[in-house]
């Protein structure tokens, strides 16, 4: 399976977040399109060598977010309707966020902060806020 990369457990980013982001990214880039099926829980767990409960949880959460559709006994699919709206809104959001991040970083750089210091500040902020912000309105 080349669609998803093996997660990096040492990155500090929880594995389930990494998997979730990879699936979202695959939908945003069009690697996965509405109606496409995702690997079964077992197959994905084995190929990524991660806990099957993690895969199941990510599928469930992405279903709640409207990105995936779980059909009982059949598997997980990229949702047909929700997705196009979701990805369009999301990629707009991402572009805007990227701009914001760019100006934020250059502002801090202008004030003389080093990349490592900026990284630490962002990490600390995420850790404080629990990193749990609702995704789409």
């Amino acid at each position: 399976m080349t669609l998803f990369l093996k997660p990096n457990p040492a990155s500090g980013v929880p594995i389930y977040v990494q998997l979730k982001e990879q699936i979202r990214h695959a939908c945003e880039t069009g690697a996965l399109r509405p109606g496409d099926s995702l690997p079964g829980i077992r197959a994905l767990a084995e190929s990524m060598v991660i806990n099957p409960n993690t895969v199941a949880r990510v599928y469930r959460e992405l279903e709640l977010e409207g990105l995936l559709e779980l059909r009982h006994g059949v598997g997980a699919f990229v949702a047909s309707r929700g997705t196009t709206r979701w990805t369009a809104a999301r990629s707009g959001q991402m572009k805007a966020a990227q701009k914001a991040a760019k100006s934020f970083v250059s502002e801090l750089r202008r004030r003389g902060l080093e990349p490592d210091e900026i990284r630490r500040l962002v990490e600390a902020e995420l850790a404080t806020s629990d990193g749990r912000v609702p995704l789409v309105g």
């Binding site: 997660p7 457990p9 040492a10 500090g12 929880p14 594995i15 389930y16 977040v17 829980i41 077992r42 767990a45 084995e46 060598v49 991660i50 806990n51 099957p52 409960n53 993690t54 630490r120 990490e123 600390a124 995420l126 850790a127 404080t128 629990d130 990193g131 749990r132």
Partner: protein
């Protein structure tokens, strides 16, 4: 949902002469989980596993494995039909070939998985006609793993399953673990490879000197465990840091570093009242394990 446990112990204790290897260990492994069993060498991991599997008798306390009493010999035999174990000693019969060893083992287990057997024979490239006595160390491990994973056991107990394996083989073993878990098996495995535990486990148990030091989920580690550091003008009284969630406090000059198992937002708030530059950082499993073990040595 009622949670049921594959392994439960209550004040499990083991003496070897005067030496207390396991000291009142109470722990639980929920069914359907991959649970990592961590601890330094000599912490009591293998002694615990041996008692769980009926290979040695508890001095005190008791335990249940798949709802069978570990101290009851008849129940222990029933239990062992449903549990597969791979330990340091790869117990194989020297006079048998690989093929004979597999056929011999297969006969005992009605749930034997022939596909798994064939798949692993191919992947491990085990020579069926070679005597087990003439297998390399790595091949012995591979054969032991094949015998364990093909049994279709409800519970797999693995004592450092990737020890001594090259990275490719080690990853293969983790893949097997994940596959068995997807089939509904419970996995209880000890390991010194924290990265691999972080990669596949959903829970961890950390023991030290025969006692439980930490029992948590990987999810709780990523969402609740935090290191919080503050710079103080003068050292704070320890009582001011006795806040719910603070599990360890280290003072180094003006810097106070706290490990929080939960409640990090309130802890940081309290520290901000008297400290400047309070930082909250996520912690990896490795940091938490090292930090927890440090505490016990002080």
């Amino acid at each position: 949902m009622i949670q049921s446990f594959a392994i439960e112990t209550d004040a499990l204790t083991k003496y070897y002469g005067d030496f207390e290897a396991v000291r009142g260990l109470t722990m639980r492994v929920p069914k359907g989980t991959i649970t990592g069993f961590l601890g330094q060498n000599g912490a009591g991991k293998s002694s615990t596993i041996r008692m769980l599997l009926g290979m040695s008798r508890p001095t005190r306390g008791n335990g249940r494995v798949l709802d069978f009493d570990i101290a009851d010999e008849k129940q222990s035999i029933e239990m062992r039909k449903r549990v597969a174990y791979v330990g340091e000693d790869k117990r194989l019969y020297d006079y048998m070939t690989v093929r004979q060893m597999i056929d011999f083992t297969k006969a005992f287990y009605p749930a034997w998985r022939s596909e798994t057997e064939q798949k692993l024979l191919d992947e491990f490239r085990l020579p069926p006609d070679r005597s087990t006595k003439k297998l390399s160390k790595g091949m012995r491990t591979q054969l032991a793993l094949l015998l364990a994973f093909a049994r279709g056991a409800e519970l797999l107990v693995l004592d450092e399953p990737t020890e001594g394996l090259d990275p490719v083989m080690a990853e293969k073993v983790l893949e097997l673990v994940v596959g068995a878990a997807a089939d509904g098996a419970t996995i209880f495995f000890s390991s010194h490879q924290i990265a691999e535990v972080e990669q596949i486990a959903d829970r961890i148990l950390l023991i030290d000197r025969g006692q439980l030091l930490l029992e948590t989920t990987l999810e709780s580690i990523s969402t609740n465990f935090r290191r919080i550091r503050g710079v103080y003008e003068s050292a704070p009284k320890p009582a001011t840091l006795a806040i719910d969630g603070v599990t360890r406090i280290a003072v180094d000059g003006r810097v106070v570093s706290v490990m929080a198992s939960h409640n990090s937002v309130s802890i940081a708030e309290r520290m901000r009242a008297s400290a400047s530059a309070v930082e909250v950082m996520p912690m990896t499993l490795k940091e938490i394990v090292l930090e927890s073990l440090k505490r016990d040595q002080s």
